[in-house]
């Protein structure tokens, strides 16, 4: 159970939500997406952001492995939120699909089956889908789980670039504290309640930050 938690994400921020397994990260993600109502308090969306306009990237094991779907079909399903009750996609939707595929360098995979892709390619496709769903905020739930170290670093770079160049705020749920202090503008350290919330610089200087970062590098040395 997560309790007494208060934080905010501003325009163009890059927030890392870090914490151990069972610290309440997934519950928080569900609440942010509106799939689970918080028992107390509320989540406010400013600047005309609507709930369905959050670009969500689920954990990889949520997505089926033997599913017959082309890359194009998967990316296009990101446009669904803005469709409402209209049944078909418009030319503008299709343009958006192509632009996002180009941005992530997966245009040449367009006709391939999603199930035949490598782990890193799959995450790019799902990221393109999330980008179709949003103009303002990406919510990524442990996006690098199961990726090898090189692909992981590429993926972090890519998200950093999207945050800077496309001016999209990013909320990244992760247990990778090292990459958090490297890329984040803000950090929320979760352990059923907020152990820390502030900018990444402050986190590095804080007691808890030193403890966790120091702990990790000590482990690496041993």
């Amino acid at each position: 159970m997560v309790h007494d938690l208060s934080f905010e994400v501003g325009e163009n921020d890059y927030l890392y939500i870090v914490g151990e397994n069972g610290s309440g990260k997934s519950t928080l993600v569900k609440s942010l997406l509106g799939l689970k109502a918080p028992s107390k308090g509320k989540i406010e969306l400013g600047d005309g952001l609507k709930l369905r306009e959050i670009g969500y990237l689920p954990q990889q094991q949520d997505v089926r492995k033997d599913f017959p779907a082309s890359v194009y079909e998967v990316v296009q399903s990101g446009n669904l939120g803005s469709r409402g009750f209209r049944p078909f996609y418009t030319a503008a939707d299709k343009k958006r699909v192509r632009e996002n595929m180009e941005l992530l360098g997966i245009r040449d995979l367009e006709k391939q089956c999603f199930c035949d892709l490598s782990g890193g390619q799959k995450q790019r496709v799902l990221l393109a889908r999330s980008l179709c769903a949003t103009k303002k905020l990406l919510l990524l739930d442990e996006p690098v789980t199961g990726l090898d170290p090189i692909v992981t670093q590429e993926f972090y770079q890519l998200i950093y670039q999207i945050n800077k160049e496309s001016k999209i705020a990013v909320v990244m749920v992760s247990h990778d504290i090292e990459s958090a202090v490297k890329y984040a503008s803000h950090i929320l350290h979760l352990q059923e309640t907020a152990l820390f919330f502030g900018t990444a610089e402050e986190y590095k200087k804080s007691e808890i930050g030193k403890e966790f970062l120091g702990g990790q590098s000590a482990c690496l040395k041993n």
């Binding site: 369905r52 089926r64 017959p68 779907a69 296009q76 669904l80 939120g81």
Partner: protein, 278 residues
Amino acid sequence: MFEKLIEMFSYPFMVRAILVGVMVALCSALLGVSLVLKRYSMIGDGLSHVGFGALAIAAAANVAPLIFAIPVVVLAAVLLLRISGSSKIKGDAAIALISTSALAIGVMVISMTTGMNTDVYNYMFGSILAMSSSDVELSVILSAVVLVLFVLFYHKIFAITFDETFAMATGVKANLYNTLIAVLTAVTIVLGMRMMGALLISSLIIFPALTSMRVCKTFKSVIINSAVISAICLFLGIAISYLWGTPAGASVVVINIAAFIIYSIIGMIKNIKNWPLT
């Protein structure tokens, strides 16, 4: 042989059987892709048993079979989804529970009224003589509604089949569409079950989807292929049933098995060709 096939179309009951059969085959093929991928294949089997029970009661009470059976099976479909949603009884167990209950009630009703006769045999294994002309009208209208709804909600059905959590996060009411799929499946099963038989109607849902997935790798091509395969297999099955006097349901399933084997072989050849690349 060819003359016999032409002759087949001169009988009104054959034209009715082919018309309704092809419509039902199209509906079940489309819905089947989503059901198979969501691991709900057995729902078709469960609902057909409920349909059997409902038809038995309708016959005993002397009411029009379709008018009575459709609401009952739709209700069962919604109930099945609700039960599988709650964690107390798991989905597969819930289906087995409801389907065997309905079958038992159906058998009890039949044995207390008409007794086990040819009608019961036809319910179980299907008959091309099952469709009266008033049934045809209702069947064609309802299958047309199923097809139109499927096309209108195609993209949403893709989204909730592929990734329900993401679909919900983008504001798609997944529960609503799951219920819609279940209701459409229920209607399709009731329409097709007297021709295909209660024991075999679920094959119309499962076979075309699995067959086309041997070869096709995109959702759209799987959907289109399933629909085409399903309609062709149904037509050939009915023709066999007419030519050799075999039960309609079993004949259609045999053709579907043949199609599945052919597609599996094509799929394997394709994989071998691509093998050095992957």
